[in-house]
């Protein structure tokens, strides 16, 4: 077993023994049940409205909106999970004396970080995959159609959560556990708010606000990935415009450039985290 896998296994074992995964599983099932109840209730209420029936003018809007809601919830919960899994990975565990016996072994500090990142990303990414998949299946089962690219929403959401995970690891190599958790979650909120402000700015042609939103998207690309995911759900035409101005953040495709930028961003965060960890005296 490689050193990275040994460290990752250790972190995953902790998540299992400390019942983190059990709690996440139970609450995820509860959330899924809530989503199911919401979908059933909504379908019941919409059955009498002609424009929402098969072939109706607003038919595509309902599953798209529901999946948009599910995407927001999944991203939020996945990000919270990532932050709690990774917030104490470096400085926090160093302060507790857990890291020193491990990195004195011929394990590079980069390998230690890779192991912690692998464990946190596996759990948080896996969570998004399962929850998004379940939401899409539920929506498809209860409504007659899905947005054409509904399944392609999942990859950007997974990568968005991986970005949050890597960001948390980077901050955790600089700050204590609590400070890391608070700062990343606040950055997460700021990113989503910036996305909303960007949509408002574009609607009113407020260029400065738009520039600020774009800059935040570069600094925190999980927000751009979320908007890219929403874009994949958006129906075309005027309905699409309606969804884009919805309350959960504007839809905007990122294209290939977003993926390339995100890849470099992830690598940059990892390199910075390793650099900071290697420089620190333990």
């Amino acid at each position: 077993m490689s050193d990275t896998l040994v460290i990752a296994r250790l972190a995953l074992q902790e998540a299992v023994r400390r019942r983190v995964l059990t709690v996440v599983g139970v609450l995820t099932i509860a959330s899924g049940a809530l989503y199911l109840v919401g979908c059933i209730t909504l379908r019941h209420h919409l059955e009498g409205l002609a424009q929402f029936k098969r072939g109706g003018q607003l038919e595509p809007l309902v599953p798209a909106t529901l999946l948009g809601l599910a995407s927001f919830g999944t991203l939020f919960l996945g990000s919270v999970l990532a932050v709690f899994l990774a917030a104490g990975a470096v400085k926090g565990d160093v302060d507790r004396g857990l890291v020193q016996p491990l990195v004195v072994r011929p394990v590079g500090r980069g390998v230690y970080l890779a192991g912690r990142a692998l464990a946190a990303m596996t759990v948080s990414g896996g969570f998004v995959l399962v929850v998004s998949g379940a939401a899409t299946i539920t929506t498809r089962a209860l409504f007659s159609s899905l947005p054409p690219k509904a399944w392609t929403v999942i990859p950007p959401l997974i990568v968005a959560v991986l970005v949050v995970t890597m960001l948390t690891l980077l901050v955790s190599s600089l700050l204590s556990t609590v400070a890391t958790g608070i700062s990343v979650l606040m950055a997460y909120g700021a990113g989503l708010i910036a996305g909303l402000l960007g949509e408002i700015a574009r609607a009113f042609s407020a260029h400065t606000l738009s520039d600020i939103a774009n800059t935040v998207s570069y600094l925190l690309p999980f927000e751009a990935l979320y908007r890219d995911a929403l874009q994949r759900l958006s129906p075309g035409g005027s309905l699409g415009q309606l969804v884009q101005l919805g309350p959960l953040g504007g839809a905007q495709g990122g294209g290939v450039g977003l993926w390339i930028y995100t890849l470099f961003y992830l690598c940059g965060c990892a390199a910075l985290a390793v650099w900071a960890f290697r420089r620190s005296d333990l």
């Binding site: 400390r18 857990l98 005296d281």
Partner: protein, 282 residues
Amino acid sequence: MVHAAGLTKSYKRSVALRGVDIDVSAGEVVGLLGPNGAGKSTLTKVLCGLVRADGGSASIAGAPAGSSLARSKVGYLAELFRFPGWATAQEVLVTHQRLARRPTAGGDADERNRLLAEVGLSQAGSTRVEAMSKGMQQRLGLAQAMVGDPEVLLLDEPTSALDPAGRHTVREVLSRARDRGTAVLLNTHLLGEVEQLADRVVLIDAGRVVAAGAISDLTAGHGVTIETDQGRVEHPHVPRDTIPALVSDLVADGRQVYAVIPHRSTLEELYLELVGDREAHR
């Protein structure tokens, strides 16, 4: 086996090491003594790669201290350490066996059982760390440091939480390690332990080596008591190397010399003479 020359290290507001030289040979136990804040733990951490020295050089078995090769030859017990509370003693050792990359004769399970028996934890293999007393965790820490029979043992206060029986066990374990040819650097406040175990002593104060050598050499003080046919006479200020001449003079004067008893100081007296009660004045 362990060699350091001119090591310097400063933290933001304090100088921890001011040009420390130290050597530990294979099959030798060297006691590292000094008051709190003298630089002992920093020196140990530099040698095992947890802290980067500002200047000087250090090597472990010929490899630069802190390098992967050097760390592969070191067993380290930190002063403040913690193992995951959810893990059992066996699981802690399994992790370290995997990371140590040192093949063991007789298999990993045999080694784990042997180590646990050596430190008196043979009945606690399946006990979780969080259910162990501090003393048991300290014993487990020592077993962890011994994983893979390292060529060098760097031990920072290995008996700080142990009762007299535990200290006796540690002394036995370290004696056996020395007999196997392991170089042991023992950082401790317990002078009695050093007197019983160490071949040599290095006394550090304020980041400098203030005394180093075999305990018998360091504690050989001034003065001698000579018993002749005219009774016992004390010569408190006679240097050790002039005692033979003094005895010759007495014999030449026709005295009958029955006993020559050189005065010796204890390690504690030497410590207090060289270091004093610095801690109280910090």
